[in-house]
């Protein structure tokens, strides 16, 4: 298990599938996290494996994705595309009205649990 900071954001794939949220393509676009290779090594995970991300706000199982080229986040930072998966662990409130979707402390561990299909992501 490692401690990380979670950030979220848009991606091209997320944008391309945003009007088809109940599709496989959308699920594929938003149910992963990107992390630094060194963090992947520490966790003993490779591209396509699954991790459990836990924060004060909740937990979610995600696929691990190794970023393309040199676009990996720095060590200790993981990126999750904005969407229903990310929102299980981000969105802290601090009174201004806008949830904190970025910079949330969390832990990441390797898991065998399945990633919840998007059709069932609201079953909590």
């Amino acid at each position: 298990m490692i401690e990380v900071v979670v950030i979220t954001g848009r991606t091209t794939d997320q944008g391309m599938t945003i009007d088809e949220k109940l599709s496989e393509a959308y699920m594929k676009a938003v149910s992963f996290c990107e992390m630094n290779e060194k963090d992947m090594e520490k966790l003993g995970v490779k591209d396509g494996d699954r991790v459990l991300v836990k924060s004060e706000l909740g937990e979610v199982v995600l696929y691990v994705r190794k970023p393309e080229m040199d676009l990996q986040p720095p060590e200790g930072l993981i990126f999750i595309p904005m969407g229903p998966y990310a929102n299980r662990v981000v969105g802290a409130l601090n009174g201004s009205g806008t949830p904190q979707y970025k910079g949330i402390k969390a832990t990441v561990e390797k898991t065998d649990r399945e990633v919840v299909p998007v059709q069932e992501i609201l079953n909590f």
Partner: protein, 414 residues
């Protein structure tokens, strides 16, 4: 061939799209996906059963009338004509009007209330800016044609090419946008306020007040960045949700506004938030001229009250203040934090949208509509507020958001 079509995805609102039959030109990959045919909500539904539009509208009006304080949320992906009806409806039913800004650039509005904002149209990026900074934003993925149309490669009358622009990217990770940069600075998450403040100190000649390292940048890096800003003939900072979604929220934005105010005492500089949806600006502007405020507006006392943190959708839902919700052109079930979605599951929800999404799954009344900018026309405001008229380029059997909202409003008033 239909020319000058406005793309209704992101805040760029590119207005040079052309369609010949199903073949579109000048679209980015996301724009292509936007205009592609895809699954639709087939028919209006009440409690999961297909019904007529009349029945669905009747039920929607009933829910809104019975509710003590319904939440009317969304609006950033429809036209101003529909938004205006939404504000009127919220006023008439004594509900809350809130829009997508409250989960994206509302901190920018709050900062503007404190400091104003030094802005300009995207034409300033194209024509004048010789220094362009992207701070906490990633246009290559979120606003794909922004660099070519406006900010990096565009041919302007003073700044005529990429070579004449110094492009700076500041972010907490290397994004594809960083590939466009002349200079890339990686800062620590949540350090924006400190870094802006350090830059202000240097710009205002108080370099000695800056420690050796701020937010992951050395003092020398900060000085070199400040130097780039100061040397601009006309500079422009584009900032995104990296600034508004991080710890500090509106304080971060205030700090960058103040930096730009300071820079205007030395040279010319403007600031532009990278607004997400193609009409998220309209969903604030229309509310401001109709009710006085951009978002987080409560009408339960018969007049408009503005209170972010109280009447913003996420907090109002979590607190259990809203006993019904109407969601128009948005998907809060996908984009709100889990706790707010839990609350949404507890109350009657009306959804007005062309596409099935996660909100459809928890909605009690679903009313499918025409896609704005493809099957329905109207007015939208680009990220810099420039108004554009989106077109109807395909016929459709679906009614528009405006038609549906007019009918609901009529029923609510009578």
């Amino acid at each position: 061939m239909i020319r000058d079509i406005v793309c209704t995805f992101c805040g760029n609102a590119c207005d040079d799209i052309e369609f010949e039959g199903d073949y579109g030109r000048n679209l980015c990959p996301i724009g292509e996906a936007k205009f592609a045919k895809k699954e639709r909500i087939k028919a209006p539904m009440v409690d999961g059963k297909e019904v007529s539009y009349e029945e669905a509208i009747e039920r929607a009006a009933e829910i809104l009338k019975e509710a003590k304080r319904p939440l009317l949320f969304g609006w950033s992906s429809t036209v101003n004509e529909a938004i205006r009806l939404g504000v009127l409806l919220a006023e008439k039913v004594g509900g809350i009007y809130d829009q997508c800004s409250s989960v994206c650039h509302a901190p920018t509005t709050l900062a503007m209330i404190e400091e104003g904002i030094v802005g300009g149209t995207l034409g300033q990026a194209k024509n004048r800016a010789d220094v362009v900074v992207f701070w906490g934003c990633n246009p290559v993925e979120a606003h794909p044609r922004h660099p070519t149309r406006y900010s990096v490669m565009a041919k302007g009358f003073l700044t005529r090419s990429r070579a004449e622009r110094r492009v700076v990217v500041v972010d907490v990770r290397k994004t594809p946008t960083a590939y466009l940069a002349t200079d890339f600075y990686m800062v620590e998450p949540g350090s924006d306020f400190m870094v802006f403040t350090a830059l202000r100190s240097i710009v205002n000649g108080h370099e000695e007040a800056v420690p050796e390292e701020v937010g992951g940048l050395t003092k020398n890096e900060l000085k070199s960045l400040a130097e780039i800003l100061l040397k601009a003939r006309y500079g422009l900072i584009f900032f995104g949700l990296g600034v508004t979604h991080s710890r500090g929220h509106e304080r971060n934005v205030e700090a960058v506004i103040k930096l730009v105010q300071d820079l205007n005492r030395k040279t010319r500089f403007i600031l532009q938030p990278m607004r997400g949806h193609f009409n998220v600006v309209g969903s604030g502007e229309v509310a401001a001229w109709e009710a006085g405020f951009e978002y987080a507006i409560d009408f339960s006392r018969g007049y408009a009250r503005f209170s972010p943190g109280e009447f913003t959708a996420v907090e109002a839902l979590i607190r259990g203040d809203c006993d019904a919700a109407m969601i128009v052109a948005s998907d809060p079930a996908a984009h709100f934090p889990k706790k707010a979605v839990e609350s949404l599951k507890e109350i009657p929800v009306i959804q007005i949208d062309p596409h099935p999404n996660l909100t459809t799954k928890l909605a009690d009344v679903v009313i499918p509509t025409a896609i704005v900018g493809i099957e329905a026309e109207g007015t939208i405001y680009r990220m810099d507020g420039v108004p554009l008229r989106v077109k109807k380029i395909r016929e459709s059997d679906y009614p528009s958001d405006v038609e549906i909202l007019e009918k609901i409003l009529e029923k609510v008033i009578s």
